[in-house]
Symmetry: C2
């Protein structure tokens, strides 16, 4: 399933696809899930480079990774399922079944301990329903959109960039075939049926056109609606199924709209991120934190994005769980972090901006302390969170070889952002952004304060009073009225809004000309002359005892659903001699169920033991399941290997005699045998991460009775 487009662009690394999926399935998974104005959605990202081809993907045991096999396990074992399946389903909406829900809950639990509790963050739970005005101010109403075009005949709607991409890629493929070059067979992807370009015409293209197509594809994320429309005209791109003419691209806002209350005068949206609810409460949170800075708020909750045509399974959905931190920090003093020293030696795989600009994808393994020192990572607070994010990903079981941090290019970030790094996890869809870590500067607090007048600022007494030299405009108010009449107040406000630089310049005008001319939109021709009788401009010194500032925000933003999916890819493998026996090697901490209790049969003699074991483990907070079905022991364990259950306890006739049990390790299938209390203690110790299996195997007697295969 090697990617044609990548091969075509092999000589031109900067034009490489970001995280190239199999050819039949062109997605842009690297687009951030957080979709905040900080990054990607409000600015046009450059395409990113890839490091590893999905076709090179191996399981952590070294065998080739087979996505179809994992997906089959995840669906069969009800990790997830299309929502409203019996009603035909709705694309982009998935339900999590018991193992998926437990896995997600456990990951959220680790997240909360690792971030919220460990760092005393202020966790809040804000509403999803959000009135129009808030998201208008944040910029989402105007800019949180994709381009779509409609076939007026069939009513079909296409996402414009995806359509251009698919059609051009199909033509390039047809060209290759026509030239007799090798074209990779399309993989047996169940989603293939959703592909719009079904029959690829084998037509040879001019060399020049091939280059043009390739260049267009490399820049596909950079086009706006008008440009996409021009491309569609230029390359004669129509509805691939019917060849019908399409309407020009129009912006489609990705927020779900609704109305709050019975009248239609309060339009609202489902939040596209949890961040805004945190910003709006900033002043109250600062008060709650007893005015101490820095501090962080955090929120775990669902957000929504009305994708035009969602694909890529759990990676691109319309309703998703986010965990977001907003760390508020003083912009002065280099954004130091008090605990940075704790992580300074943590090594990260960094793909920085300069390397990407040079057309390379070389990862630099760097201590975060050094990365901050060299300026590659902008500041300590950002660096601190990058290290903490990696620690979190490792703790839940991500494969260290499949984690990297990619810095955003200048044109991927909003103008106000200082720096932004994504934690990307390597999957069969390519490198996927799973955590965004951005410095949003003071943008959000500033716009909301400007709009509402609420003081979203920090006020702190200065240790030493500050002498502030500034240009002050004194207005002769009494003469203002008679001179400007009804426009008096407007002119006054315009003077008040003058910048320091302008005031300095105007003071010279005043001295030279005896008057100043200022811009006052809406009054006369927009220019207003103010004579020196009405105004005085001079430099004065003011003593400031209180410092007031708008904090900057460092935002680590986690897409939990993407992390859950990537984690399943990272931990999935199949038994050495049997590809049909899949195993999900979740660490015990996040595994949906910790221990399976397996009585040899449903014989009544075993029942009291099942109950005692279950009760003892439950008391210790260990989640268990009992499988007393008639299936063979081997079959029952296989099922639970697929569910990622790390431990299994067998109750056999020997147990009835001497109250001993076997304990089985999922990954090695090794077994030990011991008495009830020892077995329970070992499980608790393994689940709490106090011991590894090797420790347990070393101190408890090995059990050699073979695992009964089905």
């Amino acid at each position: 399933m090697q990617c044609v487009s990548r091969l075509l662009r092999a000589n031109s690394p900067r034009l490489c696809r970001p995280s190239t999926p199999p050819f039949s399935y062109p997605t842009k998974p690297a687009r951030c899930f957080s979709a905040t104005p900080t990054h990607c959605k409000f600015v046009v990202p450059k395409r990113k480079q890839q490091v590893t081809m999905p076709s090179d993907m191996t399981t952590y045991k070294g065998k080739p990774f087979d996505r179809a096999s994992l997906e089959s396990v995840m669906k069969r074992r009800l990790f997830y399922t299309p929502a409203f399946d019996i009603y035909g389903g709705v694309s982009g909406l998935y339900d999590y079944g018991p193992p998926g829900t437990a896995l997600t809950n456990n990951i959220v639990d680790v997240w909360r301990k690792h971030f919220v509790l460990k760092e005393n963050m202020l966790e809040v739970d804000t509403t999803m329903l959000t009135p129009h005005e808030v998201l208008k101010t944040s910029g989402h109403v105007d800019k949180f959109a994709d381009w779509m075009c409609k076939d007026p005949k069939t009513g079909e709607i296409f996402r414009a960039d995806h359509l251009v991409e698919e059609v051009l890629e199909a033509r390039l493929k047809g060209n290759k075939e026509a030239r007799g070059e090798k074209v990779e067979a399309e993989e047996d992807d169940p989603k293939k049926k959703k592909k719009k370009v079904k029959n690829i015409a084998v037509v040879k293209l001019d060399d020049a056109l091939v280059t043009e197509y390739e260049e267009t594809l490399a820049k596909i994320d950079n086009y706006n609606g008008e440009e996409l429309g021009l491309l569609m005209k230029k390359y004669d791109i129509k509805n691939p199924a019917t060849n019908g003419e399409l309407q020009p691209p129009v912006a489609f806002n990705l927020m779900f709209q609704t109305t709050i209350g019975p009248s239609s005068n309060m339009p609202g949206y489902l939040r596209p991120e949890t961040a805004q609810g945190q910003f709006l409460n900033f002043a109250k949170l600062l008060e709650f934190n007893q005015q101490q800075m820095p501090f962080a708020s955090a929120s775990i909750g669902k957000s929504f994005r009305n994708e035009i045509s969602p694909r890529a399974g759990l990676l691109r959905v319309r309703e998703f769980l986010m965990a977001e931190i907003e760390h508020f920090v003083d912009p002065e003093g280099g954004k130091k972090h008090p605990r940075f020293e704790d992580v300074a030696d943590v090594e990260l795989e960094l793909l920085d901006r300069d390397v990407q600009l040079s057309g390379k994808t070389t990862i630099k393994t760097t201590k975060i302390g050094e990365a901050v020192k060299s300026g590659m990572v902008d500041n300590e607070t950002l660096g601190y969170f990058l290290a903490r994010i990696q620690q979190f990903l490792l703790q839940i079981g991500a494969d260290p070889k499949k984690i990297r941090f990619r810095q955003h290019m200048a044109n991927e970030m909003a103008h106000y952002a200082a720096d932004c790094w994504d934690a990307e996890l390597l999957t069969s869809y390519g490198w996927i952004e799973c955590v965004g870590c951005a410095d949003r500067s003071a943008y959000d607090l500033t716009v909301h304060m400007k709009k509402t007048g609420a003081p979203l600022v920090v006020r702190e007494p200065r240790k030493e009073p500050l002498n502030v030299e500034e240009w002050v405009c004194d207005i002769e108010k009494k003469k203002f009225g008679p001179k400007f009449k009804k426009d008096g107040k407007t002119v006054e406000n315009a003077i008040e809004a003058l910048t320091q630089d302008l005031r300095e310049k105007l003071s010279l005008d005043l001295e030279k000309d005896g008057k100043i001319v200022i811009d006052v939109p809406g009054v006369g021709d927009g220019k207003v002359e103010v004579p020196q009788e009405l105004i005085k401009i001079e430099k004065r010194t003011r003593v400031e005892h209180v410092r007031e500032y708008t904090p900057n925000v460092i935002e680590p933003s986690f897409g939990i659903g993407r992390i859950v999916y990537a984690l399943c890819e990272h931990t999935y493998w199949t038994r050495e001699n049997d590809d049909a026996r899949g195993v999900l090697s979740f660490p015990p901490t996040v595994a949906p169920t910790k221990a399976l209790i397996v009585p040899l049969s449903s014989h009544a003699d075993f029942k009291p033991f099942v109950r005692t074991l279950g009760d003892k483990l439950q008391e210790a907070g260990v989640s268990t399941r009992v499988d007393d079905s008639g299936a063979s022991i081997g079959k029952r364990y296989s099922r639970n290997d697929e569910l990622g259950t790390p431990l299994g306890i067998t109750i056999d006739f020997q147990s009835v005699k001497d109250n001993t049990f076997t304990l089985r390790d999922r990954d090695s299938t090794e077994q030990v045998r011991a008495g009830l209390d020892e077995i329970v203690a070992a499980i608790v110790s393994l689940v709490n991460g106090k011991e590894q299996w090797s420790d347990v195997a070393a101190r408890l007697p090995k059990f050699e009775g073979q695992e009964v295969e089905e």
Copy 2:
């Protein structure tokens, strides 16, 4: 704040208000939050009786309860805050701040352990976005509505039943005043300003009219839109503010509507309950459970209700957290529960249907085993959950004197429901339904199966084959076409749909008359004659090896936000000698923060102790906060009493010398003093519920150094 309407209706208990709030604030909090077709929303509930007047409310320490004081604490300490406050707020939407979020999370955690883990329920996480068709089938599109009427001049919208209620109550009050009877002063309720009827005309009413008003008020929940419109005409009810004419009531659906995807052809709603997502996945969950019955699914998540004009703070909101269980059970065999014996002796305060019908409100303290035996509670499974619900409420700290279970009256339940009980918690708003526990029968699975054809059934091999005697209709298909022509299939279907009883009756007709006449809507005049040449009806015996049935559903449905609020009322009190010093006595398990670390000052000597204590407790999973502000120790403890923090550790100069610390109990303010490890061990033991404070106080040396008051 005694309630006028209650006094007026004192002689007529059946007409009593359900959970009467202060007169100025007439809400109907007893309306269930789950708003499922099972109860209240789809049927018109009778007004419920109240037991205790809000004015009698006392804290669990016995002093009068003061809601304003609690609300002030909850807002000041950021348990919750109006959402979008800096934008002016949106009624019915609240954000939870750090203590509210932590309290909610901890309650959810207890819930998950108590129900999901303990009983091996299958927890799922299904989407909130729900397509129209699903909620059309469930009945919500047609019936999940309130009546509203609009003032065409001002654009104001009123909830019709609330308006009629408020106006009539105001007139009754005016009448009392005119008659010189005592009228309770309206309490100083901040929400009073929202009241529509501001100036109450002091007008004497005829005795007959007073009776009429009272009767109308008593039945206010029972009127449909048309009836409410007639009442408004009859009693000349207009916009109370402007006296403007109102339009007749129209139904307003309470679901938030949106559109899924870019075209407008997929209307959808935000779910009004989590239940439907569980029903739709029934077949997959049964498969996951290896076909074993009974089993339960569970779901914790937000649901939405677009209230016309939400009031009553956290009790009536537009976005709320629910925790719902759907327990699927075989309808045959009396709905036994395998663990019923474990709870049979649990005593509950039951207010049953018969007592309510007799106009009384006598609570029967009854063992659930006896209640099921006597038939008061319909079946073991329902009874089992009632007991388990009470255990949960007690575990999180609800006041046992303020819990009761009220059975729904026949006219409160949907026609298909077998039984329904609400767990009500007594608050200053009256008895509030916080948990609904309904037997939804097979309704939901049946309608979805009928609509989609998906087999939402259980199939199980019969232990012994069953001989089924049944009346079979054999049709002479060849003759059917020539006889009925295009209507052949319709007539055939009508015959197939005949019930067993009808078939038996028709077999006699056939014998007697040589023909049958059946109803076939749409064919001829709706009656069709089928002669005996075309049909044979006879009784036959069929051997059935597999039993197929639609399970019944017992649904315990928890409104977490209501529980959180009621819990705050139940645990709130003020210090003996200082009403300004509020305390929230949450049990350690659910308290937002478990321990406060208080260094005497911010002196550098104390810092290593703060860190060591914090790290040790964190390692043990105990959430802590440090308060090293300059405030007095007493002030710092007071703040944390309001936050419900059960334990406080003081670090003083003695600590620096000998590594001992004082540990303070929030409720008694007693202190003990011991070394680091002993203090940590005591805290862990208290937080995990292994010990009570009295145990700790008995074994560790008491510390007599007084608490420094501010």
